[in-house]
C-alpha cells in the first residue's frame, strides 16, 4: 500500500475549499440579470381549487410573472414521473395519479405547489405571492398510513381505495407450511416512523435560457444530474436533452432526497425562457420539511416461525407503506424491491412471504432516504429475531449465530443471491469490542444507581452496488443502473477522470484519485476528478444506494485497464519491442527481462506527439471510456451493538457504547469509510430516539422546523467504536461492497433492542423519546397499573 493508494487514509483533496469557505453550492451561483422564484404552496392538505386570481399579484412591485398549472399545461409541460413500475399480485400495473409540477384543479398535501411568482427580488416575489387569491374548496384529508385504504377520502381518481399496489414477494404456500410445523411463532407489530431527510443544504435551482443558442442550463442540488436531464427532457419535456445542461456543483448532502426530480427545478428551467431572465429558487427549511420527499413510514405485522432447536423456519410479513400524495421518482421501488428482498437478513430462512400495500395519503411524497427500504427490512428482521431469542430464552448473539448463513453463494427465497460474507467473524469481533462478557456486571452496577441498562444487537445486511441493469429492468426499473467513466490522460501525464457518480459529501475527489494513483503509479495530485456537469461527463446514473465505489469506481478501473492497454501499444513502438513483451508496473512501461522502460508520463507524451508510430498502426492520444454494469448486487453486512442506560425517573436514554463491525469488502480509504459509518449511525439513532414527522388529522405537518423536528445534535450521540472485517466482493473488479447506508440501516433496531432489553418490555415505538420511554418504564415497574 502506498501513502496515497488503495487502503490509505488519505486526507481529502476537496477539504481545502470547504474549510476556507470556497465551496460552490447552487445558491452560491448568481447569473447576470437573475430573477427569483417563490412558490405559493397549499395551506390545505386536500382541497379542490375553484379558481386562482393572479391579477393583483402580477402588478405588485418587482413582479415579472405569475404562473399556474394552466401555463405549464399550455406549454405542454408534462407531469413529474415515477420511474419504477410495480405490478400488483393480480398483475395490474400500479395506479399512478397525475403529478403536475403546479397544481391542476386540486392540491393534495400541505406544501403542494399552487403557483409561482418570478420577481426582481425574493422579498418582492414573496410579497406578490401574498396577493394571489386562491379559492379553495377544502376537503377532508387522509393522513394515517394504516387507515388510508379504508378511508372515504380519495386522494386520486385512479385509486378509489387509495391503494397504489397490492404487491407480494416469496412463496406463500411454502411459508404457510413452515408455520404449520413450527414449534414456536413470534409475532410483532412495528411502525417505521416517517423521517425528513434534512441535508443541511436546502434544495436549490437556477435555470437559464440562452436565446442565441437555444440552450438551457440548470444548476441544481442533485445526486444524479444526468438522470435529472433525462427526466426533464424525455418525460417532462422542458427542453431537448442535447439542449439542456444540468450542473450539480458542490452539493451539501443528499441522503436520497436529492435524487428526485421535483417541481421546483422543472419550473425554474421553463420559467427562465418565459421571463427571459435566469430564475433562481432556494428552498428555505420550512419548504424542505413540507416538500422534500420524506422517508420510511411503514406499518408492519410480522411473524417468525422457529423449530424446537431454535432454527428459523419461516417469516411472513405484511406491510402498509405510505407513499404520500404523489408517486415521487423512485418511490414505488422503495417499499417493494428495495425492501422485501432483504427480509432474509443474514439468516438461513427457508421460506419467506411478504405482502406490501402501497397507499396514497394527503402527505408529502415518500421516497428513498438513506438506506431506502433496507432499514425498514432490517428493523423488521432484527426486532423479530431479538424478540424470538428472548421468548426462547436464548442468548440473542448465539441465537443469531445459530441461524447465520455460512455457505456462499446463498440463494434466499426472496430474489437475492448473497455472494460472500463471514457473519460470525463480524459477530465475534463486535462481541469482543463491546466487552459483551462483562455486560451483566455493568448492568448490575447501573441497577445499583437506580438506572436500567440494556444491550441491543443488529446483525444487518443490505443490497448495495445498485444495480445489474438487466435484473432491475426485469423488476420494473425504467433505467439501467450501470455507471460510466472516462479517463483522459494529458500529454504531461496528468489525468482527468470524468465520472457519472456524484459526490455530495462522500469524498470521491479523493477516493477516486486514490484508485487512479494506485493503478497508474502517478502522484495523487496529478489526478483530477470531474463530476456533476452533463456538458463534461457524457452520461451517468449518479450516487445513491452505496453504488459509487462498487459501480462507479469499477467503471473507472475498467477505463484505466484500457488506458494501460493502449499505453502498452505506444510503449512497444517507442521501445521498439513487441507489445506482448511490454509490462506495466509501478507506473512504468518496461520491456520484460530488460532494464528498458518508460514512465507513464513519457508514454502519455509519446501518445500525443505521435512521432514513433504511424496513424495506420495506432491512433494518437490517450483517452479511454468505459461503462460498467455490475453482475450482482453487493452485500455489505455487519453487527452493531448498542448499549444504553435509561433513567427510569426521567425516561432519558443515554447511549453508553456503540460498537460497529462492518464488512464492506475492500476499503479504499478507511478514514472516509469510518466517517460514512458515523454519519449513518447518527441518522439511525436519530430515527430511533429523536426524529419523527408528525401530521395532525387535518394533514398539517406539525414538525415543520428544526424547533419541532428533533435532529440529532452532538450531545445526543456518543463516540463510536468502529471495526472492520473484510471478505472481498467477488462481483466487481475492486472487491468493494459499499458503505454509505450501513449505519442508518443497522442502528434503529440496535437502539430499540437495547431499550426493550433495559425495560424488559417489548412495546416501544420510534422515536423512543423520554416521554415514551418513561411511560414504558412505569408500565414495566407496575405491570398491573392501567395505562
Amino acid at each position: 500500500m502506498t501513502a496515497t493508494g488503495i487502503g490509505a487514509p488519505v486526507r481529502r483533496k476537496e477539504d481545502q475549499r470547504f474549510v476556507t469557505g470556497q465551496g460552490r453550492y447552487v445558491d452560491d451561483f448568481n447569473r447576470p440579470g437573475q430573477a427569483y422564484a417563490y412558490f405559493l404552496r397549499s395551506p390545505h392538505a386536500h382541497a379542490a381549487i375553484r379558481s386562482i386570481d393572479v391579477g393583483a399579484a402580477q402588478t405588485m412591485p418587482g413582479a415579472l410573472a405569475v404562473f399556474t398549472g394552466d401555463d405549464l399545461a399550455a406549454d405542454k409541460i408534462g407531469g413529474l414521473i415515477c420511474g419504477w413500475m410495480i405490478h400488483s399480485k393480480d398483475g395490474t400495473p400500479m395506479k399512478a395519479g397525475p403529478h403536475p409540477a403546479l397544481a391542476q384543479g386540486k392540491v393534495r398535501y400541505v406544501g403542494d405547489h399552487v403557483a409561482v411568482v418570478i420577481a426582481e427580488t425574493l422579498a418582492q416575489a414573496k410579497d406578490a405571492a401574498e396577493a394571489i387569491v386562491v379559492d379553495y374548496d377544502v376537503l377532508p384529508a387522509v393522513v394515517d398510513t394504516a387507515e388510508a385504504a379504508k378511508s372515504s377520502v380519495q386522494v386520486h381518481d385512479v385509486s378509489p381505495d387509495n391503494t397504489v399496489f397490492n404487491w407480494h414477494l416469496g412463496d406463500k404456500d411454502a411459508t404457510e407450511a413452515a408455520f404449520a410445523k413450527a414449534k414456536h411463532v413470534t409475532k410483532i407489530d412495528l411502525v417505521n416512523n416517517r423521517l425528513v431527510p434534512n441535508p443541511i443544504e436546502p434544495r436549490a435551482a437556477l435555470g437559464e435560457y440562452d436565446f442565441g443558442t437555444d440552450n438551457y442550463t440548470l444548476y441544481t442540488t442533485s445526486q444524479n444530474p444526468h438522470v435529472a436531464r433525462l427526466v426533464l427532457s424525455a418525460f417532462i419535456g422542458v427542453a431537448p436533452e442535447h439542449k439542456l445542461r444540468v450542473i450539480a456543483p458542490d452539493v451539501g448532502g443528499g441522503f436520497g432526497s436529492k435524487i428526485f426530480i421535483y417541481a421546483e427545478e422543472t419550473v425554474c428551467v421553463w420559467a427562465a425562457k418565459k421571463v427571459k431572465r435566469p430564475v433562481k429558487w432556494t428552498s428555505d427549511r420550512t419548504e424542505a420539511f413540507l416538500a422534500d420527499a420524506h422517508g420510511r413510514d411503514h406499518v408492519t405485522h410480522a411473524e417468525m416461525a422457529t423449530d424446537e432447536n431454535g432454527k428459523i423456519l419461516g417469516l411472513r410479513v405484511h406491510t402498509t407503506a405510505n407513499l404520500g400524495a404523489y408517486l415521487s421518482t423512485f418511490s414505488s421501488s422503495v417499499p417493494t424491491y428495495l425492501y422485501a428482498p432483504l427480509l432474509s437478513g443474514q439468516y438461513d430462512i427457508p421460506a419467506i412471504y411478504c405482502e406490501v400495500d402501497g397507499v396514497y395519503t394527503n402527505t408529502a411524497p415518500v421516497d428513498a432516504y438513506r438506506g431506502a427500504g433496507r432499514p425498514e427490512a432490517t428493523f423488521v428482521v432484527e426486532r423479530l429475531v431479538e424478540k424470538t431469542a428472548r421468548e426462547l430464552k436464548q442468548d440473542p448473539a448465539e441465537f443469531r449465530r445459530k441461524n447465520y448463513i455460512t455457505q456462499f453463494p446463498h440463494q434466499t427465497p426472496v430474489i437475492m443471491a448473497y455472494d460472500t460474507g463471514d457473519y460470525a467473524a463480524s459477530l465475534d469481533k463486535a462481541l469482543e469490542l463491546a466487552d459483551y462478557r462483562n455486560f451483566q456486571a455493568r448492568k448490575q452496577e447501573s441497577a445499583r444507581r437506580g438506572k436500567l441498562r440494556g444491550l441491543g444487537f443488529s446483525s444487518y445486511i443490505e443490497a448495495c452496488g445498485i444495480a445489474p441493469s438487466q435484473a432491475v429492468g426485469s423488476l420494473g426499473a425504467g433505467v439501467g443502473l450501470w455507471e460510466s467513466a472516462e479517463v483522459r490522460v494529458n500529454p504531461t501525464g496528468s489525468v482527468e477522470v470524468l465520472t457519472g457518480s456524484h459526490s455530495h459529501g462522500q469524498g470521491h475527489e479523493t477516493t477516486f484519485a486514490q484508485l487512479v494513483s494506485d493503478r497508474l503509479g502517478i502522484p495523487i495530485d496529478q489526478v483530477s476528478i470531474v463530476h456533476g456537469d452533463t456538458d463534461k461527463v457524457q452520461f451517468g446514473m449518479g450516487t445513491y444506494g452505496s453504488r459509487s465505489g462498487a459501480v462507479g469506481m469499477s467503471a473507472i478501473a475498467k477505463a484505466i485497464d484500457k488506458v494501460i492497454a493502449k499505453g502498452r501499444k505506444v510503449a512497444a513502438h517507442v521501445l521498439e519491442a513487441s507489445e506482448g513483451d511490454i509490462e506495466f508496473k509501478d507506473g512504468r512501461f518496461g520491456v520484460a527481462g530488460t532494464d528498458r522502460s518508460l514512465a507513464f508520463g513519457e508514454v502519455a507524451l509519446q501518445a500525443y506527439i505521435a512521432h514513433k508510430f504511424s496513424g495506420q498502426d495506432l491512433e494518437p492520444g490517450l483517452k479511454e471510456g468505459a461503462f460498467y454494469d455490475p453482475t450482482n448486487f453487493t452485500f455489505p453486512a455487519g453487527v452493531h451493538i448498542c448499549e444504553v442506560e435509561i433513567d427510569p425517573d426521567t425516561g432519558v436514554t443515554t447511549i453508553e457504547r456503540w460498537t460497529a463491525v462492518d464488512d464492506f469488502g475492500v476499503i479504499i480509504n478507511p478514514m472516509i469509510v469510518e466517517g460514512q459509518v458515523h454519519g449513518g449511525i447518527a441518522q439511525g439513532v436519530g430515527q430511533a430516539l429523536l426524529e419523527g414527522a408528525v401530521y395532525d388529522r387535518s394533514g398539517q405537518l406539525v414538525t415543520a422546523s428544526f424547533n419541532d423536528y428533533c435532529m440529532p445534535r452532538a450531545n445526543d450521540l456518543p463516540s463510536f467504536q468502529v471495526g472492520m472485517t473484510v471478505t472481498p466482493c467477488p462481483s466487481n473488479p475492486l472487491g468493494i461492497k459499499g458503505c454509505g447506508e450501513a449505519g442508518a440501516i443497522a442502528a434503529p433496531p440496535a437502539v430499540i433492542n437495547a431499550i426493550t432489553d433495559a425495560l424488559g418490555h417489548e412495546d416501544i415505538a420510534m422515536p423512543a423519546t423520554p416521554q415514551a420511554v418513561w411511560r414504558a418504564a412505569q408500565k414495566a415497574r407496575m405491570p398491573m397499573a392501567a395505562e
Partner: protein, 164 residues
Amino acid sequence: MATVSLTVNGQSVTADVDPRTLLVQFLRDNLRLTGTHVGCDTSQCGACVVHLNGEAVKSCTTLAVQADAGVVTTIEGLAQGGELHPMQAAFREHHGLQCGYCTPGMIMSAVDIVNRKGPDLDEQTIRAELEGNLCRCTGYHNIVKAVAAGAQAMAEAPLQQAAE
C-alpha cells in the same frame, strides 16, 4: 434604505441596504462572501455562524444594521497569509467534514468555543458547546475530535489566533 459601515475580514465596507437585510444576506449577496451558509429559518442550525466583534453570532438572526460599525470575521477571513487557521487544518486532518455545508459555521463556532473556554476541552464540553450547530453528515464523532485537536493547535499558535 439604511447605511451600514463595517469591517469584514479586515476590509472596510459601506453600503446602503434595505433595513430588513440580514447580516448573512449582506455577506452573501452584497459582498459575495458565500462561505457563510444558510441551513434553516429558525436560528437552529448554525451554518451561518460568523464572528461579530470577536464573538460568534448567527448571521441569519442578526440584521446587517446591527453590525454597523462592527468588525466581522467570516470563514473566508480565518486563514492568514495563505496558511490555514489551526482549526481549519484540524477539521481537514480529522475528517471533521463531509459535504462541507455545515463546516464554515462549525469552524467559526469551534474557534469561539476555544476563545471562551481555552484549549483544554474534553469531549463532553465540546459536545455541549456545539449545541447550536447541526451536521447531518458526520455524526459529530470526527468534529469532536477536530475541535479538540484544533483547540490544542490554537494554543500552540497564539500569534495566528491573535491575528483575528
